[in-house]
C-alpha cells in the first residue's frame, strides 16, 4: 500500500473532556487509517467514543473537549498542528460531515438554497449565479425533486429524508476527499434509510469520496463498508474487512453485538444481550475494558489490557484469547 494512498491516519489519539465531575476519557488511544475512496465503518454502542472521534478529526470538540495526545494525519498533514484558520478551510471543503438529526442540523431561519450556497461561496468563491447553478446541480444529484423550487424552501417545510439529502448535497458541495457520516440514517424511517444508503453508495461511485460511516447499526455497516472498526469504551477492540467480521467475529464484544442483532424471519423469543453496562469513562477500569461483561474472562484480563493483536487477513483484535 503506497503511502499516498492513505488519506487519513490516526495515531494514538486521546480525546478527553474536562468536566466538573472529572476527566472523561472519551477516546483513549485510537489508531486507524482510511485509504482514498475507502468506506470505513465505525461501530459501537452509544457513548463508546464514535462521535467524539469524528469531532476530533474536524476539531469541533467545543470548549471542554481536547485532543491531548496523538496525531491526526490527513493527506500528510497533522490536523492538530494547523491553525484555526487553516482548519476552517478544510472543514466542509476537504472533509465534510453529515449528522444524525438532519432536520435540526439545518438552520431554521435560512432557506435551504442559501445554506448550500454559503458552503460554495466560502470554499470556492463562486459568484451568486454560479453558486445558484451548482446548488441546483447538487440538489438534482442527491435526488431532491423540483430542486429550483426546493431551494427556496425553509428546513421545516421538508421531510427528514429530504433534509438528509440536503445535508448530503451540502457536504458534497466542494467535492470532499473525506465524508464523515455520523449515524446518517438513525433518525429516519426504514424505507427512507434504504434510500439514503443507496444514495450514498451511488455518490461514492460518482465522486470517489472516502467515507467514515459511524453507526450502531450493523446492518448499515454490512451494506456500506469495506472495513469495520469496532469501538468499545473509547478504544478500538477489533478491526477487520467487513465480510470477515460478520463471518467470524473474533472479539467477544463483536460476537455479542452480532448475536444481539435481530435476523429477519428468524423468530426467537428473546434477543441475545450483552449483560452489564459500558464502564464509566471517568475512571476506566484497568485491564481489558470489556472484562466485566465478558463471558471468556480470565485473570489476565482484569490485570493487563491486551494489545491489538494482528491476525491473518488484515485483522486486528484486542483480546487475550488470541
Amino acid at each position: 500500500m503506497a503511502q499516498s494512498d492513505v488519506l487519513l491516519k490516526l495515531k494514538g489519539v486521546k480525546t478527553y473532556f474536562f468536566t466538573d465531575e472529572g476527566t472523561v476519557h472519551a477516546v483513549d488511544g485510537l489508531d486507524f487509517q482510511v485509504r482514498r475512496g475507502e468506506t470505513l465503518g465505525i461501530v459501537g454502542e452509544s457513548g463508546c467514543g464514535k462521535s467524539v472521534t469524528s469531532m476530533s478529526i474536524l476539531r469541533l470538540l467545543g470548549k471542554t473537549g481536547k485532543v491531548i495526545e496523538g496525531e491526526i494525519m490527513f493527506d500528510g498533514e497533522n490536523l492538530l498542528d494547523l491553525s484555526e484558520e487553516e482548519m476552517r478551510k478544510i472543514r466542509g471543503n476537504r472533509i465534510s460531515m453529515i449528522f444524525q438529526q438532519p432536520t435540526t442540523c439545518l438552520n431554521p431561519v435560512f432557506r435551504i438554497g442559501e445554506q448550500i450556497i454559503e458552503a460554495l461561496q466560502i470554499h470556492q468563491g463562486l459568484s451568486g449565479e454560479e453558486a445558484n447553478k451548482r446548488t441546483i446541480e447538487l440538489l438534482t444529484l442527491v435526488g431532491l425533486p423540483d430542486p429550483v423550487r426546493r431551494m427556496r424552501s425553509f428546513p421545516h417545510e421538508i421531510s427528514g429524508g429530504q433534509a438528509q439529502r440536503v445535508m448530503i448535497a451540502m457536504a458534497l458541495a466542494c467535492n470532499p476527499e473525506l465524508l464523515i457520516a455520523d449515524e446518517p440514517t438513525t433518525a429516519l424511517d426504514v424505507t427512507i434509510q434504504a434510500q439514503i444508503l443507496d444514495l450514498m453508495r451511488e455518490l461514492r461511485e460518482k465522486v470517489n469520496t472516502a467515507i467514515i460511516l459511524i453507526t450502531h447499526d450493523l446492518g448499515v455497516v454490512a451494506e456500506m463498508a469495506e472495513n469495520v472498526m469496532v469501538m468499545y469504551a473509547g478504544r478500538a477492540v477489533e478491526y477487520a474487512p467487513v465480510h470477515a467480521l460478520f463471518e467470524a467475529p473474533k472479539h467477544p464484544y463483536t460476537q455479542g453485538l452480532i448475536a444481539s442483532t435481530p435476523v429477519l424471519g428468524n423468530v426467537r423469543d428473546e434477543l441475545e444481550t450483552i449483560p452489564g453496562q459500558v464502564p464509566s469513562l471517568l475512571n476506566p477500569p484497568a485491564g481489558c475494558r470489556f472484562a466485566s461483561r465478558c463471558a471468556h474472562r480470565m485473570d489476565q484480563c482484569t490485570q493487563e489490557e491486551p494489545p491489538l493483536i494482528k491476525l491473518e487477513g488484515d485483522r486486528l483484535v484486542r483480546c487475550w484469547l488470541y
Binding site: 474536524l58 469541533l60 470548549k63 484555526e84 476552517r88 478551510k89 478544510i90 472543514r91 466542509g92 471543503n93 465534510s96 460531515m97 449528522f99 438529526q101 435540526t104 442540523c105 439545518l106 438552520n107 431554521p108 431561519v109 435560512f110 454559503e118 458552503a119 466560502i122 470554499h123 425553509f154 421545516h156 445535508m167 451540502m170
Partner: protein
C-alpha cells in the same frame, strides 16, 4: 393573515372592555373616595357643609351610585333619562365617544387627555433614551458573555447583572443623588439631582453655564434617572440575551455551520444571532407599554414629574378619571404590543405562520 388580524382586533376589543371593567370595579371596591378628604377636615370653621360636598360631587360626577360609575365612564350620562334615571343625567359623553373626562383632583377640571399630552414628551425622553441604551448595550453584552461563557468577562457581567437586578431603583437612585451632591459640594463636575429642567441657569465645572430649558439642560437632568432605569433593563436584557444565545449555540445547526467551514464570527453573528433574537422580540415589544407608562419609582425619586409620577399621584388622590385613562392607554398598548409581537414573529421566524 387578514382574517387573523380581524379576529385578533375583535378579541382585543373584548379584552379591553373586560379589563377596564375589572379595573373600575377594583377602584370602586377600594375604600374611600375623592371627597373623603373634605369630610375629614378637623377645623369646624373651614369644614365644608354636606350641601357643599354634594355640589362638589355633582360637579365631579361622583354623585351617582357606584353601579353607574363604570357605565358613565364608558358610555357617558347623557342617555340616563332613557332608562329612568333622570336625576343623574349630565353632559359626559363617555370614553366610547372619545370623552376621556376631566381630572378630579390632580389638576381639577383639566381634561385628562390634556394632562397626558402635557406629560408625555418628558416621559418619552426618559423612557426611549433608557430603552435604547439598554438594548444597544444589553444585546451585545449578552452575546459576548454567551460566547465567552464562564470567562472572566462573563463572571463580571453576571455579577453586575445580579447587582443591577437586586438593587431597588429608589435606593440606587438615592445613592447616586447623594454622590452627585457630594461632587457638587466639592466643586467637581455633577449632574442635577432632580426635576426635568432647571428653572434658572446654573454653573457646572467643565461645561460652564447651562441655560435653563436648553437641550443641554435636559440631557444633564436625564443622565441620572436614565442610568438608574437602564441599569435594571440592561441587567435583565443582557441576561436574557445570554441565555437565548447559549441555547442557540448548542443547537445542531450551529455545529453544521462550523462543520461547513463558516468563520466563527459568522457562525455567531449570522447563524446563531438570527435565531437568538427571536425570543427577544417578546421582551422588546413588551417594553412599549412601559415606555408610555414611565417609571414610577425612578420618576418619584428624581422628582421627574412625567407620566409615572402623575399616575402615582392620581392613584393617591383617588383621581379616578385620570388613573383610568392611564390604565386604559396602558392596556391598549399592551394588547397591541402582543399583536405586534405575534406579527413580528412571523417575519423573523419562517416556521411561524398566522392563520
Amino acid at each position: 393573515m387578514t382574517v387573523y388580524l380581524i379576529r385578533r382586533l375583535f378579541q382585543a376589543i373584548l379584552v379591553l372592555l373586560f379589563s377596564s371593567a375589572v379595573i373600575y370595579s377594583l377602584f370602586a371596591l377600594a375604600p374611600g373616595g375623592p371627597l373623603d378628604e373634605l369630610r375629614q377636615n378637623t377645623d369646624p370653621k373651614s369644614r365644608p357643609s354636606e350641601a357643599d360636598i354634594q355640589r362638589q360631587a355633582k360637579l365631579l360626577g361622583a354623585d351617582k351610585p357606584w353601579y353607574l360609575w363604570y357605565p358613565t365612564w364608558l358610555a357617558g350620562d347623557t342617555w340616563l333619562d332613557k332608562v329612568g334615571l333622570e336625576q343623574y343625567v349630565g353632559e359626559r359623553k363617555g370614553i366610547l365617544r372619545w370623552d376621556w373626562g376631566t381630572s378630579w383632583k390632580f389638576q381639577r377640571n383639566a381634561p385628562v387627555l390634556d394632562i397626558i399630552k402635557d406629560k408625555l414628551p418628558d416621559t418619552l425622553w426618559l423612557m426611549i433614551t433608557s430603552t435604547i441604551i439598554s438594548l444597544v448595550l444589553g444585546i451585545p453584552l449578552g452575546v459576548f458573555s454567551a460566547v465567552r461563557q464562564y470567562s472572566f468577562f462573563d463572571y463580571i457581567l453576571t455579577t453586575f447583572s445580579f447587582i443591577g437586578l437586586s438593587l431597588p431603583s429608589f435606593w440606587f437612585g438615592l445613592l447616586i443623588i447623594a454622590v452627585s451632591l457630594w461632587f457638587k459640594r466639592n466643586g467637581w463636575f455633577y449632574f442635577p439631582a432632580g426635576d426635568i429642567l432647571a428653572l434658572r441657569n446654573y454653573e457646572v465645572p467643565v461645561l460652564g453655564t447651562v441655560v435653563a430649558g436648553s437641550f443641554l439642560d435636559r440631557v444633564m437632568h436625564l443622565v441620572m434617572p436614565v442610568t438608574v432605569l437602564s441599569m435594571l433593563n440592561l441587567a435583565n436584557w443582557s441576561r436574557f440575551m445570554r441565555a437565548s444565545m447559549l441555547e442557540v449555540l448548542s443547537q445542531d445547526y450551529v455545529r453544521t455551520a462550523r462543520a461547513k467551514g463558516v468563520k466563527e464570527r459568522v457562525v455567531i453573528y449570522k447563524h446563531a444571532f438570527r435565531n437568538a433574537l427571536i425570543p427577544l422580540i417578546t421582551i422588546i415589544v413588551f417594553a412599549i407599554p412601559g415606555v408610555f407608562g414611565g417609571a414610577l419609582f425612578t420618576e418619584t425619586v428624581f422628582n421627574y414629574k412625567a407620566l409615572g409620577f402623575t399616575f402615582i399621584s392620581a392613584l393617591n388622590l383617588k383621581d379616578y378619571p385620570l388613573a383610568m385613562a392611564f390604565l386604559l392607554i396602558s392596556s391598549i398598548l399592551l394588547v397591541f404590543a402582543t399583536l405586534l409581537a405575534d406579527v413580528l414573529y412571523t417575519i423573523v421566524d419562517p416556521r411561524i405562520r398566522l392563520d
